[in-house]
């Protein structure tokens, strides 16, 4: 396997562990809404025509929505791209090996 890919994987693994460590060490933010304390939200899961915006949280809600969907498609297309590259390399190797095998079998048959 390529060395840069191994390094990338090791870095991704280290980043995951660091994120878990940070999550463990964090404390609730000052702008935490009531539901952070585990309170029941009375009308959760209902849709509304008008939505009362919270000026502090509203930009964060949109920003996080955007980041979340970007991350989703980065992961899905990253996986597809990696699979495509792997398939391409495997197919090329298979063709080469089959040609070599056909040559060798032809020689042995002569």
């Amino acid at each position: 396997m390529d060395r840069p890919l191994r390094t990338l994987r090791a870095l991704a693994f280290a980043a995951t562990l660091s994120a878990a460590g940070l999550a463990l060490a964090q404390t609730p933010a000052a702008d935490a809404p009531a539901s952070a304390a585990g309170d029941e939200v009375p009308n959760a899961g209902e849709v509304v025509d008008t939505f009362e915006t919270s000026p502090d949280l509203e930009p964060m809600r949109y920003r996080h929505l955007w980041i979340a969907y970007s991350a989703i498609w980065l992961l899905v297309f990253g996986f597809m791209f990696r699979t495509y590259k792997k398939s391409e390399a495997t197919q090329a190797e298979l063709e080469l090996l089959k040609r070599r095998l056909a040559d060798l079998e032809g020689k042995n048959g002569d």
Binding site: Q26, F51, R61, H64, V76
Partner: protein, 225 residues
Amino acid sequence: MRLLFPAATALGAVAIGVAHYLAFVHVPMESTMGAVQRIFYFHVPSAWLFYLGALLCFGASLGYLINRKARWDAFAHASAETGLVFGLIVVVTGPLWARPVWGVWWNWEPRLTTMSLVLLMFAAYWVVRAFGGPGQGVRRFAAVLAVFAGPSIYFVRVAVNRWGGVHPPAETASRSDDVIKLTMYTCFFLLLFVFGLLLRIRYRAHRDALTVRAVRRRLARLGGI
């Protein structure tokens, strides 16, 4: 038959477009969380697809341990990888939803903790497969790991109802307003289609790798390598 896969891929692209339309345009704003609630339309189905990938990997690994056919192992490998992608989507989008709603990125409550543990088990499976090489011992070890990791999904599923915590319970989707419920289930079926396509191309890649190894062995016997 040759056109089947490109047609399915095109259909997958349409499915993705429809899922986005439903999540961003069709469904109205939710009353308590606002825009960030729209993460749920991909977060929740991704969690279900992670469970599906884990269970498929469990079943195929069990099959491999019983009959030792490389195809079962290739399917288990592909299922674990595809499931892991959806599991990663869950743990990436979850904190992005939690920060504006709970006020924290992460909370070591039962659902999140059990989910991270099962995800780490499948990450371990992936590390073993990626770095362990193609040997039979590695395949057997990975299969045993998957057989232990698969049923752990049960603990993730029941965590909220059994042990409480701040995570919304599993029934939240079915208790929600009809339009939210319908959008959630439609997104699930559309993403299930995408999951099927990804699983299929990954499985095909592993099958091709098996063929390469078989041809290599034959060449070695004939003295070509």
